[in-house]
């Protein structure tokens, strides 16, 4: 019984990680950069929900507003901080991304203070099947995550923009020659990533409704690890990695190794990099001069 509860909990947490990891992996695949500020977009989404629910806006509307706000933020961060550096060294972009992450955290701390704030109105209660007690939010998260992932897969496979995204990630120069507006595609990628981050933030808040300025850091880093484990740049890989990490986290947390859960997750990352550097589903890219 305990096993099934843990499994469902793990899958739903894994779904959240997978959604965040998708943002990392898509941006990496298309813009060839690690967006360290992604975790902080989650935090901004969480605070947006906090602000609106505190003003007794309906939670659904608050969620939609948070998604819109995060998309706007993601796009503007890309335009202001990353776009000027396109074509320069990857290290410079990486450091700027860290700067943006640090900036967002400091801003949040300045506006909302360093204390923890509780978010109201996201608790959906729980139901029980036999002796099994499952939170409604867990099931909602699980279903929503899988729906989002399926929708994203369909989007990438069957729409014009989705195909263009694949083309840009394969070969930017050739895509540009084929008449694809690369800047627009990168913008769309950041928008989708940020929207997913906002949704993931919402689901994370359903698990534990406390908000603080480094709220997004740990799930962000874990999702990042998930993206690398699954193979960075690969969309199914991010899903696989996220779910794997979520399940590991819940099961390790329930066992004797509880306090060392985080260390175990990151140790998995290091071991995977040692054994299979491209991750489970990543493609090996040939280096060119």
């Amino acid at each position: 019984m305990n096993f099934i509860t843990n499994l469902i909990g793990g899958l739903s947490l894994g779904g959240i990680y997978a959604m965040i990891a998708l943002g990392y992996t898509m941006v990496y695949g298309i813009a060839k950069m690690l967006n360290f500020a992604h975790g902080d977009i989650i935090m901004v989404g969480g605070y947006t929900i906090l602000v609106f629910t505190a003003r007794s806006v309906h939670p659904i509307i608050a969620i939609i507003l948070s998604v819109i706000f995060c998309v706007a933020l993601g796009i503007s961060v890309e335009k202001v901080a990353y776009k000027p550096l396109r074509g320069s060294s990857p290290l410079a972009v990486l450091i700027t991304a860290i700067g943006v992450s640090y900036l967002l955290q400091s801003l949040a701390q300045m506006i909302f203070g360093s204390g923890t704030k509780m978010v109201q109105g996201l608790d959906l209660g729980s139901f029980s099947i036999g002796s099994l007690k499952i939170g409604v939010s867990t099931v909602v998260t699980l279903i929503a995550c899988f729906m989002v992932m399926i929708a994203l897969n369909l989007f990438v496979k069957y729409t014009r923009i989705g195909r263009a995204m694949v083309a840009v990630s394969e070969d930017k120069g050739a895509a540009q020659l084929m008449g694809i507006n690369v800047n627009f595609i990168i913008m769309i990628t950041f928008a989708i990533g940020s929207a997913l981050a906002a949704l993931a933030g919402t689901f994370y808040l359903m698990r534990s409704p406390s908000m603080y300025s480094t709220f997004g850091s740990l799930p962000g880093i874990k999702a990042f690890a998930a993206a690398v484990i699954g193979g960075i740049g690969s969309i199914p890989g991010a899903m696989l990695g996220g779910i794997l990490l979520g399940v590991v986290e819940v099961f390790a947390g329930a066992s004797v190794l509880g306090p060392y859960t985080d260390a175990i997750e990151f140790a998995i990352l290091i071991v995977i990099l040692l054994v299979k550097p491209t991750g489970f589903l990543g493609k090996k890219r040939r280096e060119k001069v």
């Binding site: 450091i95 801003l107 880093i221 985080d262 550097p277 001069v289």
Partner: protein, 380 residues
């Protein structure tokens, strides 16, 4: 000029150390300033060693503070254990300090090697990810390890504050000597070649992975040394002190000083450490976060300014070097012939050929020419 270029930083730091050591020994230096100098020395070691990885090797490490943490914990712990076994107090004992420095450096270097092994074989930003993960692992382990005091922190041996900053600055000199000499050697050229173009470096026969691993291990070892110093400078150490934010702060020092500039890192480290001590006195309460905001903005603005392809022309026109040259270097005067300028009325290649071949056959008129060339240093 060569002296200024190569030895200025040793001279300045050495003179600084001697002056303040004398002040301290005669009892004219307050403990708060001694503590500030200790922190400055720690920051300089951290910034210079991180600068080696970020500025010269071109890899990003986000876990410099965690290597420091490993050094601080293990160095301090082993020193304490040995002192207890020998039945002496760990505090104020120079031998124990040296021992813990060596052990701290060795432990941090080992961690650096183990972490670098999977990450540095790969091309791309994997080192950033793995060091980030390593930081979390270290934090979790030391927070939960009861033998290291857990989240409460571990008490550390002490050293008289009068001397500790002197030792700190001596270690700064050691760090500088090792890193600068490494960079000026053949290996240093290899390291910068890897940064500039990894594939080209590989093609010229440089073992890229080996160099990256050696540099990263060395940098971690110095972080470990800084960690041991930190443990001696503070009453106790806590895992939360060596978090992600501390690593970022070191990175800010490196970026602010200019990536690939050791002297820049030194100045930025001293400046930021000073500001970190003084700013909390001005920015109290909620304003304290302004400091972080400020660092974040510096980081973004500097990196964009220094790297954006669109700003290239602007950068070349208005930079510190041009400004410096405008003020301090005399304008080029075509009427004045510089001493080392080549003279075209004689053909120097003939002389050099003679010297190279070192033959005894000297053609008559050539001899005249060489005598003529020999005097060209004179004022004509």
């Amino acid at each position: 000029m060569k002296f200024v270029k190569h030895y200025l930083n040793y001279t300045v730091i050495g003179a600084f150390t001697i002056i303040f050591a004398i002040l301290s020994l005669t009892g004219n230096l307050s403990a708060s300033y001694a503590y500030l100098f200790e922190k400055v020395a720690i920051s300089i070691i951290l910034a210079v060693s991180l600068g080696l990885v970020v500025g010269f090797l071109g890899e990003l490490s986000l876990g410099h503070a965690s290597f420091m943490c490993v050094g601080a914990y293990l160095g301090g712990k082993v020193a304490q254990v040995i002192a207890d076994a020998m039945g002496i107090s760990g505090s104020d004992n120079f031998l124990i300090l040296i021992l813990s420095l060596v052990i701290g450096a060795a432990c941090a270097a080992l961690c650096g090697f183990v972490i670098g092994l999977p990450a540095l074989r790969l091309r791309g930003d994997y080192l950033a990810i793995v060091t980030l993960a390593f930081g979390e692992i270290v934090r979790v382990i030391f927070t939960n390890a009861e033998s290291f005091g857990g989240a409460q922190g571990m008490g550390t041996p002490r050293f008289d504050r009068k001397y500790l900053f002197v030792i700190g600055f001596l270690l700064v000199l050691v760090t500088l000597a090792v890193i600068q000499n490494l960079l000026r050697s053949k290996h240093g050229r290899a390291i910068t070649a890897i940064r500039d173009n990894e594939i080209a470096a590989k093609a010229t026969g440089i073992n890229v992975t080996k160099y990256k691993l050696v540099v990263f291990t060395l940098s971690s070892a110095f972080a470990g040394i800084a960690g041991v110093l930190y443990s001696y400078a503070n009453f106790n150490i806590q895992p939360s002190k060596f978090g992600y934010n501390y690593s970022i702060e070191i990175l800010v020092m490196v970026v602010l000083g200019g990536m690939g500039s050791i002297n820049g890192s030194i100045i930025a480290a001293a400046l930021i450490t000073y500001l970190n001590t003084k700013l909390p006195l001005i920015l109290t309460g909620d304003l304290a976060v302004l400091q972080n905001l400020f660092y974040a903005l510096i980081l973004i603005a500097l990196v964009i300014y220094n790297n954006a392809p669109a700003l290239k022309g602007f950068r070349e026109k208005y930079n510190l070097k041009n400004f410096w040259n405008k003020i301090f270097k005399p304008k080029h005067d075509p009427s004045k012939i510089r001493d080392d300028a080549a003279r075209w009325d004689v053909v120097p290649t003939k002389i050099e050929m003679n010297e190279v071949l070192s033959t005894d056959i000297v053609i008559d008129n050539m001899g005249d020419n060489s005598a003529d060339i020999g005097e060209r240093g004179g004022n004509k």
